[in-house]
Symmetry: none
């Protein structure tokens, strides 16, 4: 969909929309039973909701393509993930709640070990403690870039984030990690002319870091990967003319919501905390993105039973959302994470849209198999937002 | 899908993919019984396979558009048939296993009869014997083009293929067949400036052919139609990073596979021969395109019972493919050929994808009606290949 078209149709209203993203929602049948996680779980509230919803399957990037968390959520938010790539450096920064601003260039950093000749002997510096990482990052903050602010934040163990902030920077840079031992780190190269100046700043930073870390073996050098620029996305609340809030216990999903301009609400560490936040902030916003992480974690662990349990925990909290009587409630996810795959999958993700105007279909159970024959069909994820807007009576007619 | 995107996601693996194309697979209910060919046939192996597959319907070109064999197969191979047209001359050359190379210009030729004034009296030269066609083609091979090699191959009866090979040739040429009796053949005209030189070469060829055939009535002249250039397609094995083989008893399908860069395996004249070839070559390739012709032939003949029998013969051979335990097995076709239409049809074609990770749907019978509610939905044929790649775990994740 053309976002400018949607922008032209959006109008203010008093209706409320809740979009629940169950991370890694979709699954696959376990061979022993022939039933998927959703088909195995006791999820009476989800099934009852599906029975009065329009159901379907969402595909986030393209047929057969497994979405990362970035593209998966951008799709849910109504953006074409192929037109708005989000790179690894930006995602790493979002993952630690780093407040990126448009134009920032972010990279993933590793502390590593080099020998007397400068050749890499350990790409992860023996996985130093996070405490040490914090201290070393503090030391690197002494370095000042010429023509760009350098921001350094520890992540975990040997990992940190480097952000360059300033005018006219570019993330079109090669990586310094040769992905091999016994060779020295590579200098950064500009991948196009517009990135030349940024390459110089980064190489100066690396040279200074080498000096500052000289005596800190095993963490006596750094590697930088996944440079990219914070994408300038059309802003979600402006496209849809509403006040949009994100509730997510995990930083990366807060970051993705911030990237599109949602207001990120302070919440606790559990999903019950998220529901409580939703309840308290109910009057202050029109649209709520509510993120549930446990389904993905269990799926990535290949733990079928844990994913079933995670679905059941979500189901138990669902009445707390229903009690708020949103005008439109959507439940779906950012990608599949089938337990038998123990990884993100390409399989389209069940979706339901409940509203007074959603229409009826044959689906009365919220499973992959049932949703395949729902009224929404198999639809690109970015088509969900316009459907939610319509169900909230927040779109005017197109044409006379 | 953008093929460069897919190329970037493809990674090597040891998994095996088999794509069976049942030519003209889809059908329509016979009015007497209300059942289609697939619904009438006893095809227990296909039904059992459908029950453990993701099913759907493939649409090869667009809604209501009946695909020829070229576009139908290009769609199956993952190409958008509208972006990669294959013309009649090229298809005629592929149909006789002619080894076209990129840049070749091919045309369909007819021997015809002209009177003393050079006016056409029979556009097909009384359908001369194939033997005579072979002899006359040998004679035409005496002609040498200025700046292009001229290759002439008999097809059948009055039909032959002309191929021009050389630098800077163009197939943007008008036809010489006036499609009417009583007028002389038309000279070839260049349809754009880049084709001027090719037009001169072709007109010189025609003039020489007229002289050489002067005394051979009824085959005393030629007509040329359907000029076009062999399209330069992105190569299938390079896009998907695998070794791809084609097994087809009929030359046109070998030709189409060769056009996209598949290795064409030597096989016999029956489908049993094809299965035997598949078995013998199993370890040497990663992807196998296996073509089954009988369904289309029966459909084109308008012979409902023969098409039912052809489906049953395929079903009887299916265990031979299953015994090889491909990681991914897809069964579909290049277009429908409903017996009651006695021609190619626009109706979308049943498709199934069986793999460990294909997911479940409600479909337990491989018919047009059942596949309509499958998990794959109604999908453009070119989306099948990415789905097969994903199921073979040959695609990496898109984005972080």
């Amino acid at each position: 969909m053309d976002l400018d078209l949607l922008r032209g149709l959006a109008q203010p209203s008093t209706t409320k929309i809740v979009l629940c993203s169950l991370d890694g929602l979709g699954g696959l049948p376990r061979p022993e039973t022939g039933k998927s996680e959703l088909e195995t779980a006791r999820i009476p509230h989800l099934h009852a909701l599906a029975a009065r919803s329009a159901c379907g399957l969402l595909r986030h990037v393209g047929p057969g393509i497994t979405p990362g968390s970035g593209p998966g959520h951008l799709g849910l938010f109504g953006y074409d993930p192929l037109r708005h790539p989000v790179g690894r450096g930006v995602l790493e920064a979002l993952g630690i709640d780093f407040p990126l601003t448009p134009g920032d260039v972010a990279a993933r950093g590793n502390f590593c070990t080099v020998d007397g000749e400068g050749r890499i002997t350990d790409r992860r510096a023996g996985r130093i403690s996070t405490d040490l990482c914090v201290k070393l990052c503090e030391r690197l903050r002494q370095i000042h870039g010429e023509g760009a602010e350098l921001l350094i934040e520890p992540v975990k163990e040997h990992r940190f984030v480097l952000v360059l902030r300033g005018q006219g920077l570019s993330g079109h840079l090669s990586e310094t990690d040769p992905q091999a031992l016994g060779t020295p780190p590579l200098p950064v190269r500009a991948l196009d002319a517009a990135a030349e100046r940024t390459a110089v700043i980064v190489n100066q930073f690396i040279a200074r870091a080498r000096e500052l870390l000289r005596d800190d073996a095993p963490a006596n050098m750094i590697l930088l990967r996944g440079f990219d620029t914070q994408p300038a996305l059309p802003l979600f609340p402006e496209i849809y003319s509403f006040r949009a809030a994100a509730i997510a216990a995990y930083p990366m999903y807060r970051g993705l919501a911030r990237l599109v301009g949602m207001e990120v609400l302070k919440t606790g560490t559990t999903f019950a905390d998220e529901i409580e936040t939703l309840r308290k902030q109910w009057t202050a916003h029109d649209f709520f993105f509510v993120h549930y992480k446990d389904t993905d974690k269990a799926g990535e662990d290949g733990d079928f039973d844990a994913k079933v349990a995670a679905l059941e925990r979500f189901d138990a909290e669902l009445p707390g959302i229903l009690a708020l009587e949103p005008d439109v409630l959507a439940v779906s996810g950012d990608h599949s994470t089938p337990s038998i795959l123990a990884a993100h999958g390409w399989q389209p993700v069940p979706a339901l849209v409940a509203s007074r105007y959603c229409g009826a279909d044959q689906v009365s159970r919220f499973t992959e198999r049932d949703c395949a024959s729902g009224a929404l069909g198999v639809l690109p994820a970015q088509e969900l937002m316009p459907i939610l807007m319509a169900n909230a009576l927040r779109f005017i007619k197109y044409g006379a």
